[in-house]
Structures are given as structure tokens and as C-alpha cells.
Symmetry: D2
Subunit: 133 residues, 4 copies
């Protein structure tokens, strides 16, 4: 099945897990895509007493989604993740945007890099994924 | 704040994101912890027509949680994740259990390994995390 | 080209870089292989004044080699590395042995885990690699 | 011990392993450093009959060195590697240059990104390392 750039926002929403986290595509190009995750209380780690921040698993999910869709935008079809890596740079407490670009799109695998920034433009986490093409 | 082994299941549930995914601690020891993620339709990727499987982001979240709690069980206090890596070995479609054990618990960082298996005992994904101690 | 278990030690030595580092296969089976790196002054980082230990790049090389050969032992032919990850657990100062086992050997990729121990059996580093099969 | 930018090329050469591989610093700034690895027959994998390319372990070593020195340039003192990841994008057969920049330099850890290019400017591998600061 071929997926056009125009169809990507809807293609992203078809996954129930993306809807659970509230992920939305905010920009899609063959060179770069951006996916946004809202600030929501149920995406947090910790509790009110200890201090709360966006859970690392939610950020990893955002990175997986953005990297995956950067590759889908480049190759035109759905691709499974082979492996994923996330480096957490600072605690985050607001809406987050993941910007992903493809570093390689080969016949067997693709590699995408993802930067996650908060509303103030600060780099919160960086990720890298390998996808099967 | 010190966290005892007995308090770990409740400590896990205090994070709203863990409750969102339905994560539950099923076993806690200083050498190994196990965390379960239920099979739920809203944790899936894909759609009914294309075929569905547990989303890689949900599996990454499960791995982050299990690795984190293996280190908490070993050192006795909460620890933030420095980085996380996940290798996806096969698509998963049921309840998943992550078993985590600490490979190193040093003064500045700890490293934990996590195996994720499905209900049939098949290895679905493996993960490794570095945590700040 | 098919590579038998008996031929693996010689197959390892055919790579000039393996000979440069002095890597030698010490055990080869379809479930596990072990590769040894000698203690040599020119594999060290630092200088005599500041204190010296085996360079992380040499350890990464040992891990890549051992993981690669675990997959070769399992599938019977040479495989390129797609990606490699190394966690350094403690400084090392002697001969090192990498023990590698395959976690997955699929049609498109294989994943191998590698433990590196020193002469006293202490865990020095752990690695994980993905290889194209 | 404090290390100035001017002293970095010599500081790199003090490690015997860097000299073994022929690594040389070609540019050093607080925002970015570049390290070169020569093309040499003894850095290759494979044999003349099967085809040869620069060994992944040598490339991992180059990446570790470049990432490490990017952090040293930023913080002013030597730092050990906590973990290292390498993605291999295409086989390489000539001199390679690793360009590294710091993505985070915190109180406990720093993260550096490394791009490795060949003489034609093609991206050969990308790496990411976490270092203890």
C-alpha cells in the first residue's frame, strides 16, 4: 500500500496507540516530519508530591512514531521498527514536538534521527531508530 | 526517599502514565523485577484491515518502566533514565511481561537489561537502559 | 559462501583489522562463541602518568567481532553489522574475553548479545549488535 | 587537569591506541571537533578475494574518539565513555573523517553526536555517545 504525504496525518491517527497518547502530525515532507504530543496529566511520571515530568516511555513513543513516519514519508509505505534508542537530556513538563529526518533510506533498512523540543524550543531528548524498508 | 521492595507495586502505580498503560508489577526482588502490560486494543499499532500488533512505543514504555524499577529495587530510591535502547524481535499481539535485571549498579550510573516475552514465553523484544544513581 | 564452525578461527584471522588487534577465537558453537583480545600496550587509552586502561574503541571492536561471529556461526555465512551498542561498566587493564550469543536470527536481521569479562571474570562491558542476514 | 583546545591534538596522540589506528585531530573548537582516520590495509575487514572495507570496529573507535574529544573540548577535562552507539550506513574504503558535536554537557553526563564521512563527503556511519562529566 502506498501512502502519500497528504494522507500521513490520517494514517498516523489510524493506530489506536497514537490516539491514546494524543499524537498528531504537524508537518510532513519527504525530508522531515514533525509530530506533536500534548501535555496531559496522564502522560506524566512521578506524583504531585515528588514532582512530575513527562514519562520517558511517552517520549520514546513519540520518537518511535516520528522516526517511523519520517521513513514512511520518504519511502511511501509502512515500515516496522527494528530498533530504537533514546537519550533523555532534560526533564520535560509541557507539550512536546518531535522533528524527524531520514539519515539513510536503503533497500533493506532506513535510519532516522529525531529531536524532541519543548514549547520553549529547548532540546528535551534525542532519538535514533532503524526501520525495515 | 527510600523505597522498600514491598512498596514497589504501589510506587509503580503512582505514575499516571503507568496507570494509563495498565502496567503492574508482578514480581520484585533485588536481583530481578517483572512488570506486566495488559493486552488492550488502545495499545495497538495499525488498524483492523492492515493487521494490528502491540505498538513499539508501548513496548519501549514497558521496558523503561521495568529497567527503572529493577534499579530502584537494587538501590532503594527513584532514578531517572539517562538512555534507553530497544530491539524489536517479533510482532506481539497479547499480554506482555518484561523481566529486568541490573547488570551494574555504580555510584553514578546503573545499567539494566530487560527481556519482554509474550504469553507463550516467546521473546518479543529486548531492551537496555542506563539510569542515574 | 558457507562457513563451517571448524573454519571460524581461520575466517576471523583473514581480516587484517582482527590481526592488528590480536583477536582470536577461543570457542565456537552454534549457540555461543568466545573471542579473546590480548593485553597489549598499544590497545590502551591514556598515558603512563594519567593511568591507562584498555581503550573503549578496542573493546567496541572486540564486541563487534564476537557478535558478528556468533551470527556467522548460527547462519553459516558472513554478515555485515547494521548497528552496534556498547555499555562500559568498569575500566579494564588485562586480557579480555567476549562471549556472544544470538538472541534472534531472522530472515532479514539477527541480534547478538555480548558480555566482555576480564581475567578475573569481572564484567567489563556489555554490547548488542544488529546484523544483516 | 585542564586541557586547552590548542593541546587537544597532542592530548589525542598520547593514547597508544589512537596512534595504533593513526587517528589525528584535524579541527578542534568548543562547538565541534573533527578526527581523521587514515586508509590503511590493516584497518580493513574481509580479504582481497571477498572484497574489503574499513572494519566496523575501527569506525566505532574513530567515533568514540571524536565524541570523547568533542566533550573534552567543551568541558576542558578528560571524560570516560559511559556508552556508545554506531549505525553503519554504507561500506567504506578510504580515509574517513569523524565530525563530532556536543548535544548536551550537563553536570553528570554529556552526549555527543558524530557523523563519519569518506573522502567524497558521503555519510558512512553515524554515532552517539554518552560521557561522564
Amino acid at each position: 500500500m502506498s501512502v502519500s504525504l497528504e494522507a500521513l496525518p490520517e494514517f498516523l491517527r489510524r493506530s489506536p496507540y497514537h490516539r491514546l497518547l494524543g499524537l498528531e502530525m504537524v508537518r510532513a515532507g519527504t525530508d522531515e516530519v514533525a509530530v506533536r504530543m500534548p501535555f496531559r496529566e496522564d502522560l506524566l511520571a512521578g506524583d504531585a508530591a515528588a514532582g512530575q515530568y513527562v514519562h520517558g516511555g511517552a517520549i520514546a513513543s513519540l520518537i518511535d512514531c516520528a522516526g517511523d513516519f519520517a521513513v514512511i514519508a520518504a519511502v511511501g509505505y509502512d515500515v516496522p521498527t527494528i530498533d530504537l534508542r533514546v537519550d533523555y537530556l532534560r526533564p520535560a513538563t509541557g507539550e512536546l514536538t518531535a522533528t524527524a529526518r531520514v539519515r539513510k533510506a536503503g533497500r533493506s533498512v532506513a535510519v532516522a534521527d529525531v529531536d524532541v523540543t519543548d514549547g520553549a524550543g529547548r532540546l528535551v531528548a534525542i532519538g535514533r531508530g532503524v526501520f525495515k524498508t
